[in-house]
Each structure stands twice: as C-alpha cells, then as structure tokens.
C-alpha cells in the first residue's frame, strides 16, 4: 500500500499531452479532465432522462384524453395553423444542426466558427419562441386561452366546447413548458457564447458545449412529438 500516492502521478507523467492538473477548468475533486468530462456528460444524460419522464407524464395524460375525446382533439388541432407549426419545426431542427456544428467546432478549437454556430442557434431559437408568441396572441384573440374568463370559443355542443378547452389547456401547458425550456436554453447559450469567445474550449475541454448540445437536442425532440400531436390530428 505504500505506493498509493504514486498511482495517479505515475500515470500522468507517462502521458504526452499537456499536464492535466494545471488545466484551468479542471475541478479539483476529479482526477483528470477525462473523468470530469465523463462525469459531466453522464450527469446531463441523467438530467435528460428525468426530463423525458417529466414531459412523458404530460404526453400520457394527453393521449388518454385524446382517446376519450377524439373529435374535440381534431377540432382543437384545426384551430392551429399547421403551416406555421411546420415552419417552426424546420427552424428548430435547423437550430439543432447549428448546435451540433457548434459542438464540432468546439472539439476543433474553432473559436469563431463555434461562436457563430451558437449565435445562429440562439437566433433560430429566438425565432421559434417569437413565432410561438405570435401564435399565442392569435389564440388569445380568438378566445382560445383556457379559463373561465378568457375562453370564449364555442363549438357545436357544450360538451365539445368543454373538451376543446381541455385540448387547448394541454396545448398551452405543453408548448408553454417547452418554450420555457427553450428560454432557459437561450440563457445558457448566451453564457456559452461568452465562454467560447473567451477561448475556453478545445479538443481537451469541450464538454460544456457538448452538454449544452444534449439539452438543446432534447428540447428539439420534445417539439418533434408536439408538432404532429397538436397540429396534425
């Protein structure tokens, strides 16, 4: 046991790359950058897993009611403009591309390219949220915002009216939660743009950009399901 202290030192001395212990972003409870990278990535995956269950619960409730009130779900869906929804879907998938490219850039220490990709991702995300805001305002104008005072839309029967309001409740709750996640993502992107410009990232240390990507792609996946379920019934 007397050579316990040499264990990690010996291994690092043998490695040709820059001595990891002096890397400015190595946190000291980790042995080396590799462990830190693996831990951070795994952490973000666990976070994404619980987000899948979070949205999943909402999707489950949505589907149960869709089975019960299929006609109302159709009517509610026809209140959405599928062309805007499709265009927004394209915008979001494009933002996923730019995000993936940003990770690629960070891996290659391409500071300006990475920053540009992150800025594009931010802009595209902003467009998405802006368009959603526009859609919301149109719905509110048409009396489709759920609530005793705000919901004035009337369908053929009182039951259908109630059920379409239920659809709209799911619409606003699920797209609202999604938009909230995008806004949080946008805030994080701003911070990452700053860090990229500062030159923080390179082949040895790009983990933060990668986990930003994991978060952003997850939010995209939620929308991939929301679009057909809300706009294309």
């Amino acid at each position: 046991m007397s050579d316990v202290t040499l264990h990690h030192g010996a291994e690092h001395a043998a490695e040709p790359h820059k001595h990891a212990h002096h890397h400015p972003f190595l946190q000291h409870h980790f042995e080396d950058l590799g462990q830190q990278h693996e831990a951070s990535t795994l952490g973000m995956w666990f976070f994404v897993a619980q987000e899948i269950l979070f949205f999943g619960g909402a999707f489950c409730a949505y589907f149960i009611y869709r089975g019960m009130y299929h006609d109302a779900w159709k009517l509610g869906s026809h209140h959405q403009d599928w062309k805007i929804g499709a265009a927004n879907t394209v915008v979001l998938i494009l933002s996923s591309l730019t995000m993936a490219l940003a990770v690629w850039g960070a891996q290659g220490a391409k500071r300006k390219f990475t920053a540009l990709m992150l800025i594009l991702t931010l802009i595209l995300g902003g467009i998405f949220v802006g368009v959603k805001g526009y859609e919301y305002s149109v719905h509110i104008d048409h009396g489709l915002f759920p609530g005793a005072q705000t919901y004035t839309n009337v369908e053929a029967t009182p039951e259908l009216t109630q059920q379409v309001q239920l659809f709209m409740t799911f619409y606003f709750t699920m797209t609202g939660l999604h938009a909230l996640h995008m806004i949080i993502g946008a805030g994080l992107l701003l911070w990452f743009i700053k860090r990229t410009w500062r030159g923080d990232f390179g082949p040895e240390y790009y983990g933060p950009v990668e986990i930003m990507g994991l978060y952003w792609h997850f939010v995209d996946i939620v929308w991939i399901f929301l679009f057909p379920l809300l706009y294309l019934v």
Partner: protein, 109 residues
C-alpha cells in the same frame, strides 16, 4: 496496482470521437424529409393509422437526433442504458395507464 479497476471511473484525457461534418448534414436532411412526410401523410385520411404513422415518424426522427446529433452512437454503453431505460419507464407508464382505461368496460368517450 494488482486490482486497480480502470473500467469506468478514470478517463484520462477525453479521447472522443469527432463526427464528420457530412454526417451532421445528412442527419439534417433526413429530418427535413421526415418532417415533410409527416405533414403530407397527415393530409391523407388513414383513420386510426394517422396517429400510428405520425408517431412512428416522430420516433424515427427522435432516434436519428439521439444517435447522431446527441452522439449516442459513439457513446459508452452506460449512455445507451440511460436513454433506453427512460423510454422503457415511459412505456411502463403508458401500458399500465392504458391497462386501466381500456378495460373499464365503458366507452372511452
């Protein structure tokens, strides 16, 4: 150092796979095509199959994003386990919820 275990807790420098630019664009085009297909199919009346097709395409798109944009295809086995487990848990939720709703004996609506 007879029994030092390096399997999954000491990573050294990240020796990570860097995907090719081309692969990202290929994925993007796939997603675009699938989006178009989704919209196109939804305009055709297939009855109950509309939902199934729409969800199948969505699942395909999500799989593509997960495998390539999120790099799972190049990720360690543990990542695969985490991703697959979360969907299995979701499936358990759906199956057992529907076990109640489909067997209540009165029509759903």
């Amino acid at each position: 150092m007879a029994n030092a275990d390096h399997s999954d807790h000491i990573g050294h420098a990240p020796a990570h796979h860097r995907s090719s630019l081309a692969s990202y664009f290929a994925v993007f085009m796939t997603l675009m095509i699938l989006t178009v297909v989704t919209v196109w199919v939804s305009r055709i009346d297939l009855g109950a199959f509309n939902t199934i097709v729409a969800m199948a395409i969505a699942i395909l798109k999500a799989t593509v994003v997960i495998l390539w944009f999120m790099h799972v295809i190049h990720s360690p086995r543990l990542t695969w386990i985490v991703v697959i487990s979360s969907f299995i848990w979701l499936a358990m939720m759906f199956v057992l919820f529907y076990a109640d709703y489909l067997t209540r004996g009165w029509p759903l609506s």
